[in-house]
């Protein structure tokens, strides 16, 4: 085993396991680095490898360490850690070419495990690079006298040759849905809206620039301030936190649309909850789901993989014009003794005998005129009467404060009201013509029930900070606070053109990657194959086509590699001579591959004197025809005849 092979292998293994350092326990990463360093020192100095008992001891110590760190030896984390440690340990007994092969196979396997943690384009590209390194090392093992550059070239050629096979497998391999084929449930990190809202929960979310979903509209998109993406609806308030309350009511909502429908497609990132976000008010959706009485669209199972759905909504509508009495009661629920000042304020609006709509107007006017501020960092209000403290003392809050206080005031004035959370707005990707809605677009607003109008959306935040609904959070909060916002959210307010182009293009690439590579599921496969003109798509048919395709590709490559065999097709004379040799071979006198015609003839003549003259003559004629200067048709015919006539 040459030293350079070992160094190459060390380098490729280091490349393969480097991304895992992110989530491996620190002791594992340091142990791996230490083992690899130790191995390179031993290689450099030529000292013998460690004793067998020492390695056994180390192995058991590692097993113990994993058991302590993870409390198990199974599952994704523990198994990946175990695999990586075993690879590093295998290095310590690397002696033969077989050991190198084992390590190369293992490192290919570790390359795959990286995808448990990230499936982004950069990860895929990096893994391609590591694969190249591994294959280069592999070639080095068998061809040690090839320099690095040609080795890289061969490895690249090998990987390029694998592309058609990869494509066939990717497109045609039956996507069987089930735990065996999918990634672990926890493969996707999730963050997003919760089904409870308390002061600070949304402002925390607005610090994340993670994508919640992407939307492309079939027609003209609605105005930005109309884009309210409906999520959890919260009814019940305990003075601090809003929760959905009793959800066991299963009467279908009533709905009358009053304007044109808006059709759009949403690609929802996994969030491990059941909400499917749709524009206010939802009408139709293309995936199996249920519509609750308060217009929440719920998926049958938590969304733990990327989900794409087509949907239809109406911006103006009558929702639940007739509401059951006990629902009205739910929408009026208040913690009885808290926030006396707010209760009193609401009562003053009612005192004038104003109707419900006038009360709503008064409340909004109050919020508009009393110097309220929209801020990411409102003061903590730990007191029991947090609404009072907010309305009359601090007057600083984020959307959850305004929604919460507004609904409280409405209920205090005997107007049925509830809190709706979701997302508002989104960033327009003008290159890809779709909207990107991020966690930083999370929002909370209010709905009041007015007789004759049903549930009507009221967004108190829009009164205090219109920029929030017209542009985004960064435009609405004070300039001093924008530094806390995620970079991308800040950039959207006033970015340099090239940067936003770059960013939006990158987002498109990621979008396509998600759609076509990661999101290539049974439906998409079916749709794609149908668009290619394939009929009768079953997994049996796909397997047949796949197998055929693979053999076809391999066959084509084989033909290409063996082309010189066909190029050097023996001509007639040579074919006749080779036939002659085969005849003689059957009689026990085969010609050696390197044996010239005359030498062979001499040998035959010695062994079979009765053939001597004929074979000498034939050999001489063959030599003259094959190596001679003149192409004599007559001589060629004669030779062919005599060769055919030879009887042994």
């Amino acid at each position: 085993m040459s030293k350079s092979v070992i160094y190459g292998l060390l380098l490729s293994i280091l490349m393969v396991i480097a991304p895992h350092a992110n989530h491996l326990p620190a002791w594992v990463s340091s142990l791996c680095v230490a083992l690899l360093l130790w191995r390179s020192y031993l290689t450099h100095s030529g000292n013998p490898l460690p004793k067998h008992w020492l390695l056994t001891l180390l192995t058991f110590a590692c097993l113990g360490g994993i058991a302590i760190s993870f409390h198990t030896l199974f599952g994704r984390e523990a198994a990946v850690t175990l695999l990586i440690l075993m690879v590093a340990l295998k290095f310590m007994e690397l002696r033969t070419a077989r050991d190198v092969m084992v390590l190369i196979y293992l490192s290919c396997f570790i390359v795959i495990t990286n995808f448990f943690y990230s499936q982004s384009i950069p990860t895929a590209l990096y893994m391609l690079a590591t694969l190249l390194a591994v294959v280069t090392t592999w070639i080095h093992l068998y061809a040690q006298n090839i320099a690095l550059k040609p080795r890289l070239r061969i490895a690249t050629a090998l990987l390029l040759q694998a592309i058609p096979l990869t494509l066939i497998l990717f497109v045609l391999f039956p996507r069987i849905q089930g735990p065996l084929w999918g990634l672990p449930q926890d493969a996707f990190a999730s963050s997003g809206l919760d089904d409870r809202m308390s002061p600070g929960s949304l402002s925390r979310l607005s610090l994340s620039d993670a994508v919640a979903f992407r939307v492309s509209y079939a027609g003209k998109p609605p105005a930005r301030e109309q884009m309210y993406w409906r999520g959890p609806v919260l009814w019940q308030f305990d003075g601090r936190t809003w929760i959905p309350g009793n959800t066991a009511y299963s009467v279908a909502p009533q709905f009358t649309e009053l304007d044109q429908a808006i059709d759009y497609t949403v690609t929802l990132e996994p969030h491990n909850k059941t909400w499917l976000f749709m524009l206010d008010m939802p009408n139709k959706i293309s995936v199996p789901s249920s519509l609750t009485h308060d217009f929440q669209v719920l998926s049958k199972t938590p969304v733990n993989s990327r989900l794409r759905y087509e949907a239809r909504s109406h911006l103006v509508s009558h929702a639940n014009l007739r509401e059951a009495n006990w629902q009205i009661q739910r929408a009026l629920q208040l913690p009885p003794t808290l926030n006396p000042k707010a209760l009193q304020l609401a009562a003053t609006w009612r005192d004038n005998g104003a109707n419900d709509a006038a009360v709503v107007r008064s409340a909004l006017a109050y919020l508009n005129q009393q110097g309220f501020q929209y801020t990411l960092e409102p003061p903590l209000l730990p007191g029991a009467n947090s609404i009072d403290d907010f309305l009359f003392t601090s007057k600083k809050g984020f959307c959850e404060h305004y929604a919460s206080a507004f609904v409280f005031l409405m209920r205090a004035a005997h107007i049925p009201a509830r809190v709706v959370t979701g997302y508002q707005g989104g960033e327009f990707n003008y290159i890809g013509n779709y909207y990107i809605v991020r966690q930083s677009d999370a929002h909370a607003w209010a709905e009041v029930w007015l007789s004759g109008q049903g549930w009507v959306r009221v967004d108190p935040t829009a009164v205090i900070a219109p920029a929030r609904v017209q542009t985004n959070v960064a435009a609405a909060v004070p300039a001093s606070e924008t530094a806390a916002l995620p970079f991308i959210t800040r950039m959207t307010s006033n970015p340099p053109a090239w940067l936003s182009n770059l960013r939006l293009n990158w987002d498109i690439l990621g979008f396509r990657w998600n759609q076509w590579v990661l999101g290539y599921n049974t439906e998409r496969q079916f749709a794609f194959l149908t668009s290619l003109g394939m009929e009768n798509i079953t997994w049996q048919n796909m397997s047949i086509i796949m197998t055929t395709g693979i053999w076809l590709v391999i066959g084509l490559f084989a033909l290409f590699m063996l082309r010189h065999l066909f190029a050097n097709q023996p001509d007639k004379v040579q074919a006749a001579w080779l036939g002659l040799c085969r005849k003689l071979a059957k009689s026990g006198l085969p010609r050696a591959a390197h044996e010239g015609a005359q030498d062979y003839a001499a040998r035959i003549a010695a062994a079979r004197p009765e053939l001597a003259d004929t074979i000498r003559d034939l050999a001489a004629r063959y030599s003259a025809l094959r190596y001679g200067a003149v192409r004599d048709e007559q001589a060629q015919r004669e030779f062919l005849q005599r060769a055919a006539a030879l009887k042994i």
Partner: protein, 305 residues
């Protein structure tokens, strides 16, 4: 086929008993306008072979005994001041002959060796700024003791390459040796030899060698051989294109000796050991194999396409 060439071979075989292969190879070398290196122990007939060839072919013959104190001027010649004409006059050295026997070429210092080798390559010598052509045909047979003998300067690979072939004489077989022991003194016979050929005839034969036809099929074979030496791990480095050219011209000459006007693979195989032995070197594990085995293996490893 030239009758006189047959006579040459016949006459040589009468004197150098039991070595027809070596005689033919030496003639091949001569016809292909190459130079010959004979490597063997003293007393196996190297000098006799050279002498017999020179006499039978009717070539001017010079023998240079290489010693450690031999100087280039001893080979090439010197200018000596002539008192009567009051001028320097050039006295040509022994190199100015048609056939040179450079005996024990590895005994001399590299400086003297290179004087000979340069003359071989250029077919001319330049002394004191004046270029003097060497006679044609010009043929050098160098002999060499195997280099493990004491007090020798082995020729470097680059200079070995100047020789078209390197052959070994080997001990005669029992019958030949018997004839040798019982026969007349060889030197006596050589002195009585009559030339069987004019030097102009030899030049014409050399021209005919160039005209021997080489077919594409044969070139395939030669290329396959070259490729094999370059790809195989058995050799430290593959054969050079020059070695390929040498192989071809030797094969042509061999074909002519065999009275054919086309080269066949057997010709290549016949000359291959002589041509490649001093150009190939086995790698580590095969180093101690004798040269003959190396060439034999090369032949057997390459199929005739």
């Amino acid at each position: 086929m030239s009758q006189s060439l047959n006579n040459v071979i016949k006459q040589a075989e009468q004197i150098i008993l039991g070595k027809p292969q070596q005689i033919r190879l030496a003639l091949t070398c001569l016809l292909a306008r190459g130079h010959l290196l004979i490597e063997d122990l003293p007393g196996v007939g190297k000098t006799t072979l050279a002498h017999v060839l020179a006499c039978t072919l009717g070539l001017q013959f010079q023998r240079i005994q290489f010693t450690s104190d031999l100087l280039p001027a001893d080979i090439l010649g010197v200018s000596v001041y002539q008192r009567d004409s009051e001028k320097f006059e050039f006295h040509p050295g022994p190199i100015f002959a048609q056939m040179i026997l450079a005996d024990e070429v590895n005994r001399a210092t590299p400086k003297a060796q290179s004087a000979l080798l340069e003359a071989m390559e250029e077919q001319q010598v330049t002394i004191e700024g004046l270029t003097r052509p060497l006679p044609a045909p010009f043929f050098v047979i160098a002999t060499q003791n195997p280099s493990y003998q004491v007090g020798t300067f082995p020729l470097p690979e680059s200079q070995l390459d100047r020789f078209l072939m390197r052959i070994q004489m080997g001990y005669p077989d029992a019958q030949a040796e018997r004839g040798l022991l019982s026969g007349v003194d060889r030197r006596e016979i050589i002195s009585r030899l009559t030339p069987q050929m004019e030097s102009s005839e030899l030049l014409a034969l050399q021209q005919r060698v160039k005209a021997v036809f080489v077919s594409p099929a044969l070139l395939d074979y030669v290329q396959a051989i070259l490729r094999h030496t370059r790809e195989s791990a058995r050799y430290t480095h593959g054969l050079s294109p020059r070695a390929g050219l040498a192989l071809l011209s030797a094969a042509r000459a061999w074909a002519l000796l065999d009275e054919r006007d086309t080269v066949i693979p057997e010709d290549v195989q016949a000359v291959l050991p002589g041509v490649v032995n001093h150009r190939l070197q086995a790698t580590g594990e095969h180093q101690h194999q004798s040269n003959g085995t190396l060439a034999r293996e090369l032949i057997e490893a390459v199929a005739i396409p």
